[in-house]
């Protein structure tokens, strides 16, 4: 799979790609987990990456995050320096309160002010002093979301950020994330297991299998997408690409 075989999927008139991968390969003890992946993300594009466990989607995200040093591989990756990662676990430091966690590592004179604003954005105004242990799973993940957005990243890398949340909390988080992404306009890579989540949120869905991108499809549905008649068609198509039939 090389770059020319794939349409770059850049909207017209947007200048150079925000993220670009050329021939990116990663191997763990000789076994290829990513094979020759070439991709371009347009600035501000919301890309969802779905795939079965072990398909290589987290490896791709970690490569973009620069968290895979020591992993064998080759290829060229160009990503913005100001990027932030939203992990599956909220990864809050238990000895820092909510506000301190949000501004963790943020070097700015107005860090405190921005941190408070970011907490308010995720609906946690007034909980600045709360210890992570005193927050529910959903609240912890909202603090983590505030932590990734307070840096005003040009690239947000989200690794199954809602995977550990209950179904109701997940729906609320979708709305919250969608609203905040519209406001901040970063380029987003959302790695997920959840086909519905991918279609609901993303401009473009990638399906990964055995280290290769096997489907690269724009989502041109109006919001709210669950009400769109073509939602089901796209869902069936993506599930089929993942080798799942929705029989029940």
């Amino acid at each position: 799979m090389n770059a020319s075989a794939h349409p770059l999927n850049l909207p017209q008139g947007h200048g150079p790609a925000a993220v670009s991968l050329r021939g990116v390969t990663r191997r763990f003890s000789g076994r290829s987990v990513l094979s020759e992946v070439s991709l371009d993300f347009a600035p501000g594009q919301f890309v969802a990456l779905i795939g079965k466990s072990g398909s290589g989607k987290s490896t791709l995200l970690r490569a973009l995050a620069g968290l895979d040093d020591g992993v064998e591989g080759e290829g060229r990756i160009s990503v913005p320096a100001d990027r932030s990662v939203l992990f599956q676990d909220s990864r809050l430091l238990p000895w820092k309160n909510a506000l301190q966690n949000v501004v963790f590592g943020l070097r700015a004179a107005d860090a405190d002010l921005r941190g408070r604003a970011a907490l308010a954005d995720v609906g946690l105004a007034g909980r600045e002093e709360a210890w992570p242990n005193a927050l529910s799973g959903g609240e912890q993940q909202r603090v983590a979301l505030a932590r990734s957005l307070v840096r005003q990243p040009r690239l947000l890398l989200a690794d199954e950020p809602f995977g550990a949340l209950d179904a109701l909390t997940r729906i609320r988080m979708h709305d919250l994330l969608f609203g905040l992404i519209r406001q901040h306009q970063p380029t987003v890579l959302l790695v997920t297991h959840d086909v519905d989540e991918a279609i609901k949120l993303a401009d473009r869905v990638l399906v990964m299998e055995a280290g290769r991108i096997v489907v690269d499809r724009p989502v041109a549905l109006a919001h709210p997408r669950l009400k769109e008649p073509h939602f089901e068609t796209l869902r069936g198509e993506l599930l089929a690409a993942l080798g799942v039939t929705d029989a029940v």
């Binding site: 992990f87 676990d89 990864r91 309160n97 963790f104 590592g105 242990n133």
Partner: protein
């Protein structure tokens, strides 16, 4: 069939009663003991003192063998009111806490050096493990030859026994830093200095406190032995002299003071630990 007819016929309400109360599921066997009520752990010590007092007052326990608790209390009040106890107590406390302070400082410095750098670990870890295998008391002869039989030797030995638990626990905590936190720190572009301050040290604090709780006990244990050597003041001296005169009541007072100091130090460290690690006690409502 006939049995059922018989039971319901004779006692029409029996079946309903049986369900609500009489035929409750049998109490499952209690697999784990339930929690003690507050102060429950005091039962054993109080019972021991009561039996001891009873044995003394009936004459079964001779005061030459062991003084009665009540006699020891009176002796303690006596020693307290004439100032003897305060003088010896201060001498002991000074030794123990000076040794503790120095030992904690050295143990902590070594743990940081070994936990945060490879050269530090290569140089120090093996040494501390060897030191750990050698009982402190076995070092007394050498320490006396090097430092004499005065205070310096005693404090040095207390410090050297205290630094082991501090080092072991703090070092283990530093080595066991959550790799996910390291990853997070990298993803937000934290500098090495900030990583130490904001992630490594707070993360190692629980380990340090575990070490400190062991260290306060260790420092009193070392003190007891060292105060048998060439001292003219201190709780240990008081007890040794009492042995020469056969004053079992003074010996009991000395033992009680060691117990109170040990428990008091442990309590103080736990109190400090609870405050410093208060974030652990917060729970989601």
């Amino acid at each position: 069939m006939s049995l059922i007819t018989y039971a319901t016929g004779l006692q029409p309400r029996a079946e309903a009663d049986e369900r609500s109360a009489g035929r409750q599921a049998p109490r499952p066997p209690q697999l784990a003991p339930s929690r003690l009520p507050p102060g429950g752990i005091l039962f054993g010590p109080i019972a021991l003192v009561a039996i001891w007092e009873l044995a003394s007052s009936t004459g079964w326990l001779s005061p030459k063998f062991l003084a009665a608790p009540s006699t020891a209390v009176l002796t303690g009040i006596d020693l307290l009111s004439n100032g003897t106890l305060a003088e010896h107590f201060l001498a002991s406390a000074q030794r123990a806490y000076l040794g503790l302070g120095i030992g904690v400082a050295i143990g902590l410095a070594m743990a940081l050096a070994a936990g945060l750098s490879r050269i530090g670990e290569a140089s120090l870890d093996g040494l501390v493990q060897i030191k750990r295998a050698v009982p402190t008391l076995a070092l007394i002869p050498l320490a006396i030859l090097w430092l004499g039989i005065g205070e310096a030797m005693k404090i040095a030995l207390i410090a050297s026994s205290v630094l082991v638990p501090i080092y072991i626990n703090t070092h283990a905590a530093l080595r066991g830093i959550d790799i996910r936190h390291v990853e997070l720190a990298r993803s937000v572009g934290l500098s090495r200095g900030a990583f130490l301050r904001e992630v490594a040290l707070p993360g190692a604090l629980p380990g340090f406190f575990t070490g400190l709780r062991l260290a306060v006990t260790t420092c009193w244990t070392a003190l007891v032995v060292l105060e048998q050597i060439n001292t003219t003041e201190g709780i240990g001296y008081l007890m040794n002299r009492a042995r020469d005169y056969g004053q079992t009541d003074v010996i009991v007072v000395g033992l009680a003071i060691y117990a109170i100091l040990g428990l008091g130090s442990d309590f103080a460290v736990r109190f400090w630990e609870r405050r410093a690690l208060s974030y652990r006690n917060a729970f989601a409502s």
